[in-house]
Each structure stands twice: as C-alpha cells, then as structure tokens.
C-alpha cells in the first residue's frame, strides 16, 4: 500500500504569507527528500534529511523518523514559489528506494 501520504494536495497562498506541507509515513523511514518539479517535469532537490531540521532561505524542513512525518515550511511566499512539491522517503530493504508522495500543487496569489 501507499507508504507516503502527502498533504495538502493543493494549496493557495497570498504573497508574503506562509504555510506548511506535510508527509506522513506508514512505516519508519530512514531519510526524506523534498523536491520541486521544474517546468519540464524533472525534480529539483530542495532538502535531504536523515533527522532534525534544515533551512534554506524561505524554506525549512523537518523530519521525525520516530513520529513518522516530515514537513516543508514556506514563509514569505513569492510568486515564483508556485509549482508542485514532492516529498520522497527512503525506507525498507531495497537499496535507495524512494517512496514518493502524490505532490502538493502550490499557487501563490499576488
């Protein structure tokens, strides 16, 4: 079954505001990655976390393996932040196997 539940599936934010995306895992994961889809459909790396939190500019991510979740916080949203964001968690026995969430479509409104 699905091992990664990503929410919300869609999110609208006014410029300058912030919110959080969340991924819940049905099993213990070793690490999580967050991506943003580019205009061609490929994935741009945002964060890789094996634990704790990381911050990069207006983005901050957290991963709690024990509680089985990860979050991506966006603050002071800008128009160019619009796009689709994915989490992917690494777990299980298969080498390097990433289990992807279904994605969050973010729209930033002027």
């Amino acid at each position: 079954g699905d091992q990664v539940e990503q929410s919300p599936s869609a999110l609208s934010l006014h410029e300058g505001t912030g919110s959080a995306l969340r991924c819940n895992f049905t099993t213990t994961m070793r690490a999580v990655q967050w991506f943003r889809k580019n205009s061609r459909g490929s994935l741009i790396n945002l964060f890789y976390l094996a634990s704790g939190t990381k911050e990069n500019g207006r983005l901050k991510s957290a991963f709690d393996s024990k509680e089985r979740y990860s979050t991506l916080h966006i603050r002071d949203a800008q128009l160019e932040d619009s796009g689709t964001y994915f989490c992917a968690a690494e777990g299980g026995s298969a080498l390097g196997r990433l289990h992807f969430g279904a994605g969050t479509q973010l729209i930033v409104i002027p």
């Binding site: 459909g41 994935l43 790396n45 890789y48 690494e90 080498l95 390097g96 990433l98 992807f100």
Partner: protein, 115 residues
C-alpha cells in the same frame, strides 16, 4: 560538477514497438543509478536500481528491462510497448545507497506517449 543526461527528450511510439531510453552520468564514478516512472496523474515510482556495472535490480514489474553496460550509463528498454507504458521516465543517481543514506539527483526526464 556532475551532470545527468537523458535521451530522448520525448518519444511517440506505437503499441508493440520496441523502446530504448538512455541515461548517462558525467563527473561521478561508480554512482548508484535508478529508473523512475510516473504515469499521467500517478505517483512517481521506482522501477530499477543499479549499484554497479552489469548489476540491475527490478523493483516494480512493468514488462520493462534495464541494463547498465557502462559505469556511467543506464538503459531502460522493452521489445514490445504497451499503452500503459506511457508516462514520464526519470533517471536518478546517488553516491551511496542502502544504509549509507544519500541524496538522489534526477535527470531531465523523457516523456513517452504510446499510441
């Protein structure tokens, strides 16, 4: 700097025809390589991974096969395409795998439409 290339960029193929998609990694020796696939409207899922030349492990059965003929090359292929093979194919690499956690980096992707 490492670069990852995929070819072709896009392909339209007939049902029953063969397919070969390629992926090359430059600037990194002995990477772990992965193939992912996303059906239209679906979730990205891993198809194959390879930790070394000549070794490929299948993760999901989709009537596709993969090969790693060179350290920097990963090929996805089938002799007979199905309609269900349509979608977006992504190649990825990482430095380590398994218990050595590491970031996966994705290529630009190949969009496939089977008619």
């Amino acid at each position: 700097a490492q670069t990852i290339h995929q070819w072709p960029v896009a392909e339209i193929k007939a049902v029953g025809s063969p397919l070969s998609l390629g992926c090359t990694i430059k600037g990194k020796s002995s990477p772990n390589l992965y193939w992912y696939w996303q059906a239209t409207g679906g979730t990205l899922q891993q198809l194959f991974y390879s930790i070394t030349v000549g070794q490929v492990e299948s993760v999901v059965q989709l009537n596709l096969s993969a090969s790693r003929p060179k350290d920097d090359q990963f090929i996805l292929s089938t002799e007979k395409l199905l309609l269900s093979h349509s979608g977006f194919y992504l190649c990825a690499w990482s430095l380590h795998g398994g218990k050595n956690q590491d970031t996966q980096y994705f290529g630009p992707g190949t969009r496939l439409l089977v008619l």
